[in-house]
Amino acid sequence: MTPNTPGKTPGRLYRLWDSDLFYAFRTAPVAIVATLVALTIIACAVLAPWLAPMNPYNPGGLNLMNGFTPPMEPNAFTGETFLMGADNQGRDMLSTIMYGTRTSLFVGAMAVLFAMTLGISIGLYAGWRGGWVDGALMRVADVQLAFPAILIALLIFGIARGFIPDNMRDQLAIWVLIVAIGLSDWVQFARVVRGATMVEKNKEYVQAARVIGAHPAKIMFRHILPNVMGPVLVIATISLALAIIAEATLSFLGVGVPPTQPSLGTLIRIGQGFLISGEWWILLFPSLTLLALALSVNLLGDWLRDALNPRLR
């Protein structure tokens, strides 16, 4: 027998550190830099209420006269100076970007979570049941695909506006956005999970569980799900970047978060109007932030895809 040394089982953390995935990570400069960038941005966003110089979401705290203050230059009327300048409403760009990233990340993460939950549930169920249930669910996915993402989001936005009483639209806009982006994104999760489930369910460990009469729900969620999470994670990462950008695009088309609580995308949409007029900082800084965030998340997803693919090691 292989010599066994009980008691010397290394700790979880060490095992994680020592795992192949982590090793691959440690030796991939791109992945490290991407993680650092993403983490920094995420940290700034999450901690915005504590880190940001001002709260741009509180309209009462704004001074319109600060509008269009260039970076690092005192405003002609108020004398205030902003590191990244101020936007058209007199909001400090730095703070607004931090808060905006927070909103964008929230929308993106929730949308992906929503898409993931929906996609995984449907994919697991379709893959497990097979037969006509599977066929029907996949046709639904087809219909969904007939509407490209932005159209779906536009539609849902339109429909939701009809259902939600107007005095709640403000608060609910974000949730509508989340549902809209999420709904346009679930198909790929469902397809991947379905495919993987169909492979996994014929594996012998699942049959072993069935022989002892384990409940199908338990088999799906405890046995199969953990084994299909790899590709799901990859898609989730890349979807996060896509969702953040989709949010920006929707806001360009005029359906997005309220401008009093701008997201990164709304900021870019607004800033885009000042490209020619010369107030470059209103466009540049949010765009750079979005670029850095989306790029690093994308790079991470990319790296993860390769790293999780055993055939590419």
Binding site: N4, P6, T9, E204, A209, R210, V211, I212, G213, P226
Partner: protein, 330 residues
């Protein structure tokens, strides 16, 4: 023979492999069925090792799956310990515990995301046999029973070699204290030296716990080594059932002879083997009459028309029209 532990009568399984409805309508096709098993009957006594051999696609695994309740039979009955299993409703919980199964692929049969301890204790938990702490201890104990160390409960399957995994799978199968274990090609994915270990282990465990095995294999030498009785399958039908070693010395059915002939001989007896003619026919449209007749050296007209029924032979029973004309085995 005493009351058999497992009794199988007329077991048949068909798979619907028809094209979709629309295609059938347009192409005027009939529904198509693949008969994986047809009218299979045998009994297994307590403490016995009953083996099923046959080429790929002969329906070995399908029988195994029906026995453990993974597949409902299309016809036929399964009686376990005198209790007839209602195949529609699935196996009752009280019986289910008494069955277990060991699979072929030690890499696929353990969930890679679970710790070995959890894997082994899963049957215990599912049947609610013990509290979690005891279950963990039991898992550690079982690991030692199958020749691994108790400390391995916290490891993941990928930290083990194929042979070790198969031991873990055996430990899992033992954990609900079953009487009957179906082993579907338990060693065909293993190296010979490891195969010997596992086969020896299976024997030891059988002696220790009084287990009954249904052993499935396509390796005739393994089957010969392990089993007390052997059933030979061809295209879903049981062509011959015989006492263990005697099948090899006095094979009755021409197919059995052919199979034995095809086995490469390590003993270098110098016997010149006859390469078998032809391949297994498509199970969707098997030849009429005796399914073996296109490859059979003893074929005559009757074989092409009539499905042979099992007839007693000196060593068990066989289904062949030509039994009388068979020369004694060389």
């Amino acid at each position: 023979m005493a009351e058999p532990l497992l009794k199988i009568e007329g077991l048949t399984r068909r798979f619907d492999v028809s094209k979709p409805w629309l295609n059938r309508v347009i192409e005027r096709d009939e529904k198509q069925f693949l008969t994986a098993n047809a009218d299979v009957s045998f009994e297994i006594a307590k403490g016995e090792t009953f083996a099923l051999v046959g080429e790929s696609g002969s329906g070995k695994s399908t029988i195994a799956k029906m026995v453990v309740g993974l597949l409902p039979p299309s016809a036929g009955t399964i009686t376990f310990a005198g209790q007839k299993i209602d195949t529609g409703a699935g196996i009752p919980r009280s019986l289910r515990r008494r069955f277990q199964m060991i699979f072929q692929d030690p890499f696929a049969s353990l969930n890679p995301r679970w710790r070995v301890g959890e894997i082994i204790a899963e049957p215990i938990r599912t049947f609610g046999l013990m509290n979690p702490t005891d279950a963990r201890n039991e898992a550690a104990r079982l690991l030692e029973v199958v020749g691994l160390s108790a400390g391995d409960v916290n490891k993941f399957p990928h930290e083990f070699s194929g042979g070790q995994r198969q031991r873990i799978a055996i430990a899992r199968a033992l954990s609900s204290k079953p009487e009957f274990i179906v082993c579907d090609e338990p060693t065909s994915a293993l190296d010979v030296s490891v195969q010997a270990q596992i086969l020896n282990l299976m024997r030891d465990l059988q002696d220790e716990f009084g287990l009954t095995y249904l052993l499935i294999s396509h390796d005739l030498s393994v089957v010969r080594h392990m089993s007390t009785r052997i059933g030979v399958l061809y295209l879903g039908r049981l062509v011959e059932v015989a006492q263990g070693k005697r099948l090899f010395s006095e094979p009755q059915h021409p197919y059995t002879r052919m199979l034995l002939d095809a086995v490469p001989d390590l003993a270098l007896s110098g016997r010149r083997r006859h390469a078998v003619e032809g391949e297994i026919p498509n199970p969707i449209s098997p030849p009429p009459g005796c399914a073996f007749h296109p490859r059979c050296p003893l074929v005559h007209d009757r074989c092409k028309r009539e499905v042979p029924q099992p007839r007693p032979t000196p060593i068990g029973q066989a289904a062949c029209h030509a039994l009388d004309r068979l020369a004694p085995a060389a």
